[in-house]
């Protein structure tokens, strides 16, 4: 009888329509559709694409929570052995949906799942959240290479075979597994050092984190006519920490009004950061958020206007993902408030 597979695709690959149909909520159709037919033909008796889960790209992006919940319900009606999603190639909304559905199937429904997309697709971030993502080309021209790899990893996962990013080519998920090495660390380190000295190739056992590059924002030509915001990750809050920002691994940020203030007064503001000695900052909070001088520069006309609130959080063991989500929300608020540039202090 073989594996029972559900295949996730968008409205376009399901043949329902293009952008005009992108508002389609999740629905389930029996049997394979579009690229699912290629999966079916590659299965050769090892299983069957029993159903296709379809959702419009815009619907998924705009109603992510609802789309996930509804998709989960539909998946539970079939209870497949494996979920395959995409390939989404370089399509951002589709990639996001594929990554999320794959993550949801694995983590919430315990169904093995794989998505395929271009490694730079924003949806590939789901790999960090635990989804198995097979990289592929940026356009549907790479369909014929992408689908067999998607299926091959899917079959391995569904049959409980051991997999690894090195062997199976999926994007690293940031998960460490304990293994027994043949040689002690000292010997491996010396081998690596000798290889390095001799100019031979070697692979580090501790890969360095890869940080993406953000294209710099264009400058503000003249801040004399601009609104500038002050921000800090140094944990400066009004005395008593009214929003209870955590002293480490912060789960939140806050904004506090400074429109009426010429400077921070010691005792009225304090730092709740748990990662450095806060005595100096508490003795003069302007050492942490330079309100006094910024206000003076505003009065002197060097800065058009200081934004009416400052933003604060604690950057102490705070996850990159959290910090990114804080900043995205803050950026939206700053733009809505007409802020053109930001000064961020870090401890």
């Amino acid at each position: 009888m073989g594996l029972r597979i559900v295949h996730y695709i968008n409205q376009f690959f399901a043949g329902i329509g293009g952008e005009e149909k992108a508002d389609l909520p999740p629905e389930l159709r029996s049997g394979p559709l579009g690229p699912g037919r290629l999966i079916q033909s590659l299965l050769e008796g090892r299983g069957e694409v029993v159903a296709t889960l379809i959702c419009g790209d815009t619907y998924f992006a705009e109603h992510q929570e609802e789309a996930c919940r509804h998709s989960a319900e539909l998946l539970l009606t079939v209870k497949p052995d494996l979920l395959l999603a995409g390939p989404a190639f370089a399509s951002g909304r589709y990639g996001l949906a594929c990554g999320e559905v794959a993550r949801l199937a694995l983590h919430e429904l315990k169904i093995p799942a794989v998505a395929a997309m271009h490694p730079e697709n924003p949806g590939a971030q789901a790999a960090v959240a635990g989804a198995h993502i097979v990289p592929c080309g940026s356009s549907a021209a790479s369909m014929k290479e992408a689908v067999p790899r998607l299926l091959a990893l899917g079959i391995k996962l569904a049959t409980g075979a051991d997999v690894s990013p090195d062997v199976d080519g999926y994007l690293p998920r940031g998960i460490r597994k304990n293994v027994t090495a043949e040689l002690p660390a000292s010997a491996r380190a010396l081998d690596m050092l000798l290889a390095k000295i001799a100019g031979r190739s070697f692979a580090s056992e501790v890969p360095l984190p890869q940080f993406d590059r953000v294209p710099p924002a264009p400058p503000v030509p003249d801040l004399r006519w601009a609104t500038v915001a002050l921000l800090t990750e140094g944990g400066l809050v009004p005395r008593g920490n009214p929003d209870r920002i955590e002293s480490s691994r912060a789960s939140r940020y806050a904004r506090y009004p400074i429109g009426e203030l010429r400077a921070f007064v010691p005792g009225e503001f304090e730092s709740v950061h748990g990662g450095y000695a806060t005595d100096h900052a508490n003795a003069d909070p302007n050492r942490l958020v330079p309100l006094d001088v910024a206000r003076r520069l505003e009065k002197a006309g060097r800065i058009g206007r200081l934004h009416e609130v400052y933003y604060t959080t604690v950057g102490n063991g705070t996850s990159v993902q959290k910090a990114q989500s804080f900043a995205r929300e803050i950026a939206a608020e700053l733009r809505a408030g007409g802020v053109q540039a930001a000064i961020l202090t870090a401890t």
């Binding site: 953000v214 710099p216 050492r287 003076r296 520069l297 804080f326 733009r335």
Partner: protein
């Protein structure tokens, strides 16, 4: 956070002490400061001197926000007497 703000199109200057980390992570506009615990201060100075230092720091930060960059860039603090060129001196709060 500096990167995400820049990604959203808001030029952001990061005032911090550990410049290598800021550059490794990829902050685009960095102004080095004098201590982890006081990014815009220097407790070893008198109050007046410290405010002058903070002013130079902020003037550098503002210049960084007004400067186009292609890659993560460090803006060393502008030297010289604080505020003179901007006519800020003497305008106390």
């Amino acid at each position: 956070m500096a990167k995400e703000l820049e990604r959203e199109g808001i030029p952001t200057v990061l005032l911090c002490n550990i410049v290598p980390i800021a550059l490794t992570v990829g902050a685009n506009r960095v102004v080095p400061t004098r201590g982890i615990q006081y990014p815009t201060g220097d407790p070893s100075l008198s109050r007046e001197q410290e405010e002058a230092w903070r002013e130079r720091l902020l003037m550098t930060a503002l210049a960084a926000l007004e400067t186009p960059v292609n890659d993560p860039t460090v803006f060393p603090v502008i030297s010289g007497p604080a505020g003179e060129q901007w006519g800020v001196k003497g305008d106390s709060i």
